[in-house]
């Protein structure tokens, strides 16, 4: 009876046998890393907007406070997006004919809001509230990064649950005095962990268990 396989078949088979676990583990590891890559998280990827609004120019260049546009950030869950009228407080006076602002003028004329591309989006089942974070002393920069250095806005952090929990487990690492929340340049004067712990007590953060409980964010 003729042989079915050539003598090399054994070597081939053994090679496959040895490689399979590595390939399998490698593939799983690749999938795992993919979750943290910009393809998946959009971190550091500038998003196209209907109007190329530059935070760098408006915040760092002109010194406009975050709350001038994001008006409800201290009082409500949603930070608020400025209406076109807000833009027009200045742009009815300067750059009135700039082609780059045509969309804003059109929006004001037609009374239809500009459809910005959302950069920071958490899942619907997450009850994120801006106001409580502001009141307890979490700076804008902790989540949004140096917005004052972004010509076009991008995500500075993944907004993944594991990332949320890192901070909820160690709030002292991120807390700052209430007055410095909107200061993107603020640096702790002493040891952040020591100061942060004091601030956490002052702000009335009761226990870690309470803020890492499922129902803190999922209701």
């Amino acid at each position: 009876m003729a042989q079915i396989f050539s003598p090399g078949a054994n070597t081939l088979f053994r090679t496959i046998l040895v490689l399979t676990p590595f390939l399998l583990v490698g593939a799983l590891f690749g999938l795992y890393r993919f979750n943290y890559s910009p393809w998946q998280t959009q971190v550091g990827v500038p998003r196209d907007q209907p109007v190329p609004f530059s935070h760098q120019h408006h915040v760092a260049g002109l010194g406009i406070d975050c709350r001038y546009c994001h008006t409800s950030v201290e009082k409500s869950a949603f930070a608020g997006m400025p209406s076109s009228a807000t833009c027009m407080t200045c742009h009815s006076q300067i750059w009135t004919q700039a082609p780059i602002l045509a969309t804003v003028r059109e929006s004001l004329a037609t009374d239809l809001p500009i459809r910005w591309t959302r950069v920071h989006q958490v899942a619907d089942y997450v009850y994120f509230d801006h106001s409580v974070h502001i009141q307890k002393g979490v700076g804008c920069v902790s989540c949004h990064g140096r917005v004052d250095q972004m010509p076009i806005t991008w995500k500075a952090n993944t907004l993944q649950m594991g990332w949320c929990l890192e901070c909820h487990k160690h709030p002292e690492r991120a807390l700052r005095p209430r007055s410095e929340v909107f200061n993107l340049n603020w640096k702790p004067t002493g040891d952040q962990n020591v100061e942060g712990s004091t601030l956490a007590k002052q702000a009335g953060i009761k226990s870690i268990q309470e803020i890492i409980d499922c129902t803190a964010c999922h209701r």
Partner: protein, 463 residues
């Protein structure tokens, strides 16, 4: 196997034809030829095509049901509060129970040197794998968001979370996955010598190469056999505790909860007995028709049927004891909720399911006291069918009746399955039967090597 021959075998084989493990007409050559030709040569009988077509149609029904389920959600089922565990969990426990016979036959009976396991272990193991596959489907389908099923596994994830290790539902995942993996390896290792026989008898290039690859270069040398038997025994040792642990873990899904009728310590052994009971019933339901259609009476003899009927009957009596104890404990607990459950089971809105359960699961199998019933394939098939229905009903009674009326009368409710529930139940039967028929078509369903071993031992003795 090199296991010592049982004294009983010697005595009875010569005295009574109904005790023979392999018909005296079979030789080494005829056994191989008969079994391998089912896969390699013989045209498949109309029985195969018709049964496969029906099973495949049901399987398509299952896929349709799952598609709609994924698109719309679990609301298409009859589940609601208070009965949030409906058919999906009933079916899960039923299938996983059915998946217990294979490993019992392969592992425990091997260690107990029961030679009658040899002709039937392959089919029983295959059936186990398919039943566990069906079982595995249901907990996933029953998740509200089935596409996130892998969250139950402990893996590094972006949420920074572990599964809840204190929950029996997580233990389930480990128990079922371990069981499936070990059963698969056990089944495959056992197949290797037969796959080599198939390779050697194959006619076409495709089947030669295919069987050649999966037989891993088996040549049947003495050293091969030595390694084979060592591995096989080790695997038997590994799987033996699994036969007992898997359904024990499944039973803790219920026993850990404080629902009346669930919170009892008898559950693990009670569930294991029920699992082996339904497992053997399903083996009989599959094996009896196949034995008839493929003329396998010479290797699956009356003795095999009789032995399987015996195990089924013994475990059935244990299950009966379980029912008595459930009722007794309910009364003896002194707890009004447990006591009410016992009454509600018998005369509540689902009372008829309880009485039907006692009829098909306890009363009808009493026929097995009679040798004539045990040795007649048709009557045995009917009893086994009744047991399979009974074991499904048992899970229905445990789950639905306990849930629909618990502590607060204000939260009582009624559960009624919808058409989708039934479609998915029968669809899963279609999946199971389709897999069994594909297995019969493409792999040797009887272990040729083990049959030949018995024939060889007999020839040696005669010489």
């Amino acid at each position: 196997m090199s296991s010592p021959k049982l004294v009983e075998d010697k005595v009875v084989e010569s005295s009574n034809s109904s005790h023979v493990l392999v018909s005296p007409d079979e030789t080494l050559e005829s056994a191989s030829a008969k079994i391998s030709s089912i896969v390699l040569e013989r045209k498949h009988p109309p029985f195969w095509w018709v049964s496969f077509a029906i099973a495949f149609a049901l399987l398509m029904g299952l896929l349709y049901g799952i598609t709609i389920l994924f698109a719309i959600g679990v609301g298409i089922w009859g589940i609601d509060i208070p009965v949030a565990w409906g058919f999906a969990i009933v079916n899960f426990v039923w299938w996983i129970g059915i998946g217990h016979a294979g490993t019992f036959i392969s592992a425990i009976l091997l260690l107990l040197l029961q030679k009658w396991r040899n002709s039937i272990n392959r089919l029983a193991e295959a059936m186990t794998l398919f039943a566990v596959a069906c079982a595995g489907l249901f907990p996933l389908l029953h998740l509200g968001r089935p596409w996130t099923f892998f969250w139950i596994l402990p893996y590094p994830n972006t949420m920074g979370l572990w599964p809840q290790f204190r929950s029996p539902l997580v233990w389930d995942v480990f128990a079922v996955c371990t069981y499936f993996t070990v059963s698969l390896i056990f089944w495959y290792i056992g197949l290797i010598p037969d796959l080599a026989t198939m390779r050697d008898r194959a006619r076409t290039r495709l089947s030669k190469v295919g069987f050649g690859i999966i037989s891993l270069g088996w040549r049947g040398s003495a050293i091969h056999w030595k390694h084979f038997q060592t591995v096989y025994l080790i695997l038997a040792g590994l799987s033996t505790p699994l036969v007992l642990s898997v359904h024990s873990v499944v039973s803790t899904d219920f026993a850990v909860a404080n629902i009346p009728g669930w919170h009892t310590t008898i559950f693990p052994p009670f569930f294991v007995a029920g699992a082996i009971y339904s497992g053997f019933a399903m083996v009989l339901n599959i094996m009896i028709p196949l034995r008839y259609v493929y003329r396998l009476e010479s290797v699956i003899t009356e003795r095999h049927l009789n032995c399987m009927a015996g195990v089924m009957f013994a475990t059935g009596l244990m299950v009966g004891y379980g029912y008595i104890m459930e009722t007794f404990t309910g009364w003896y607990s002194g707890d009004i909720y447990e006591q009410y459950l016992v009454i509600n089971r018998a005369i509540g809105p689902y009372g008829w399911t309880y009485w039907l359960l006692l009829l098909v699961n306890i009363v009808i199998p009493q026929a097995l006291w009679f040798r004539r019933i045990r040795s007649n394939p048709v009557s045995l098939f009917c009893v086994a069918l009744s047991v399979n229905v009974g074991m499904w009903l048992e899970r229905f009674v445990i789950i639905i009746v306990s849930l629909h009326r618990d502590f607060l009368t204000s939260s009582w409710g009624i559960y009624a399955p919808t058409g989708w529930d039934w479609l998915i139940l029968f669809g899963s039967v279609g999946l199971f039967v389709s897999l069994v028929f594909l297995f019969v078509r493409f792999l040797p369903m009887i272990p040729m090597s083990e049959i030949k071993e018995i024939v060889a031992e007999r020839e040696e003795e005669a010489a």
